[in-house]
């Protein structure tokens, strides 16, 4: 299944969305690993310090991805 991850901040260089092909029943941590493989080792640190979030909350690595769920990758923040 193809999912799209909304990008923010430093991830904008990859476009507004990143598409990943994932099997059903994967965890958020597995999606993050898949994202790392897609973006390459040069982005390893950026991916490591970033989190995946739904429209309402940050998702822990052991949470199961729900089909159709909207995801966003959030790098470290610096508002204000």
């Amino acid at each position: 299944m193809i999912i799209t991850i909304q990008t923010y901040g430093a991830f904008r260089k990859f476009g507004t969305m990143i598409e990943l092909d994932i099997p059903s029943g994967v965890t958020i941590g597995m999606i993050k690993q898949k994202l790392l493989l897609r973006l390459g080792s040069a982005e390893q640190e950026l991916v490591r310090v970033s989190v995946l979030a739904s429209s309402t909350e940050i998702l822990a690595d052991d949470v199961l991805y729900q089909d159709g769920q909207k995801l966003a990758i959030l790098p470290p923040v610096c508002g204000g």
Binding site: Y8, G9, A10, V51, A53, E57, V77, G79, G80
Partner: protein, 150 residues
């Protein structure tokens, strides 16, 4: 009093005068206002502007949560928090926090709390722009500890 807190993500200019009617109360004798402004330098580099990227839905929730936390600490206080989304040149207002309280100490303390928490938790990202046309995303605080919004 109209509401205890009012949070906005704006793509238009943030205006200080819009905050006061939202938080004023006949029970309050103090209003503290913090205005964040784009400055023309950062770490020895000349800066021409900043682009603010925002996850709008999450940001509204985080700002509301921070205001609720502050109101628990300084009870009876009112809040207006507006954060800019998009490009701002030097001098532009990036964030406005206004806190109304019965007494000045609470308004100062609560306002400081809100801006410090925004910097650590609000899903907002800054891209600095330089005179040669280059730009860079600034480092920040990792959200591995969560947004703190529930």
């Amino acid at each position: 009093m109209i509401v205890a807190y009012h949070v906005l993500i704006r793509e238009q200019n943030i205006l200080v005068e819009q905050a006061l009617p939202m938080i004023k109360s006949d029970h309050h004798g103090a209003i503290d206002i913090f205005v964040g402004v784009v400055r023309n330098h950062h770490q020895g580099q000349i800066v021409t502007g900043i682009t603010y990227d925002v996850h709008i839905l999450l940001a509204k929730g985080v700002l509301a949560t921070i205001c609720q936390e502050a109101e628990k600490k300084w009870q009876g206080t009112n809040y207006y928090v507006a954060h800019y989304h998009g490009y701002l040149p030097v001098g532009g207002i990036s964030v406005l926090i206004a806190v109304s309280a019965p007494h000045r100490a609470d308004s100062f303390d609560a306002c400081r709390y809100v801006i410090e928490e925004i910097k650590k938790r609000a899903p907002v990202w800054k891209r600095e722009h330089y005179p040669d046309g280059s730009s860079t995303w600034l480092p920040g605080h990792s959200l591995h500890q969560g947004l703190g919004n529930g």
